[in-house]
Every structure is written in structure tokens, then in C-alpha cells.
Amino acid sequence: MNDHKIKNIFVEGAISSQKIAESIQSHSSKKEIGGHSIFLGQVREDVLEAGKVIQIEYTAYVDMALEKMQIIREDVFSKYPLSCMHVYHSLGKVNAGEICLFVFTSSKHRKPAIDACAELVERIKQELPIWGKEILENENSQWKENN
């Protein structure tokens, strides 16, 4: 634990393109920024043996995920000269084609923004206690496995 306030990353349902636009727009006042890197995770309509995925329902161990995200955030801030870092992840139901993960880093130069964003995405996928349950068109479901 540390002295910093724990930031929330979770949003209910899909992340809208409007929210992403607003987040980008809000950085126009930060005039020391030269590059933004963004990663968006989109729910895939995978066709599994058991059927076609139409939705993923996300659950998380929220308290642990936020504590872990705080550690990741501090690691990445100390490794790269970033102006900003924003992370949002969906909870609950997200339809195929909708956005479930939004990672946004900004820096004076492009390289730290790009590298930090890529590293954040990997760590979020590997280290945050979040689970996706794939809802199939035939009303069956199965638990997602990350590769």
C-alpha cells in the first residue's frame, strides 16, 4: 500500500467512443504533450466449438484489481517519462464489437507513450484479477481464457 489515492478503473458496461473522444479532447490543454498512445480492447465474436460469442460478462476482484493497478501505475510512471496515464476496464456485460478496455498514455515524445501503453496492456491482462464469461448465442456460456 502507499499514500496515493487508489483510482478506480472500472466502468459498468461497454466503453463508448464518446468517452474516448472526451478523454482525448481533455488533453488539448496539456501543451507539453507530443504523443498519445491508445489501446482499445474490443469483444470479439469468436466462433467456438460450443457456439458463437455474442457478449462477454466481466467480473473482478475489484479491491485487489485496484490495488494491483496502483502498483502497475507507479511502476510504469517511474519507468517512462509520462505526462498522463488513464486505464478503464468494463464490468458486466459488453457485446461483441464493443470496447471493454481503454488504455491511454501521453508523453512529450512518442516512444515513451507507445512503450508504456504496450507494457500496461500486457500487465493488465496478466496481473489484474478480472474474468470474462463468454455468453454464446445459444445461451450457453464458458469462461474466457487469455492467451
Binding site: 476482484y61 476496464h89 471493454c100 491482462k125 484479477p129 474474468w131 470474462g132 469462461w143
Partner: protein, 80 residues
Amino acid sequence: MEQALIRLMCFGMLEEITGFKERQLIGKQDTDQFRIWLNDEFPELQKIDFVIAVNRKLINQNTVLKNEDEVALLPPFSGG
């Protein structure tokens, strides 16, 4: 000696297997004792890949359990 009362939580597919999301559990001194109880109570968990977190930190060795500790069973993560 007072017995530790822990808060036991299950996530993802483990909630479906055990049939509970959260319950209280008493009398387990450490995570090794806890694992023995878990295997007795839910033998089907032996086929499942999962890790244990105590107070929101993953553990990889036997850990003493204190009163009000939060013990969570976590299947492989699949966020993003």
C-alpha cells in the same frame, strides 16, 4: 487460543463450482490447513487451475491466517 475467522471469497468459475461467492470460515491456522479443508470440501477443485490471495496479495508459500483475513480463490485471469 482464539480461532481466526476468515472471509473466504470465490471468483469466476470457482464461484460456480463451490456454489458460493463469499462465506465465513473458522479454525484454519494457515493456508496449508485451509487447502486441506478445501480439498475435502470441494474435491472437484483438484482438477481446476487456481491461485490463492490473502488480503489481496497472491501467496506462493504457506501463510498464517489471522482474524478477519480475506482469502480469495482466483482462477486464471481473463480481463481485457
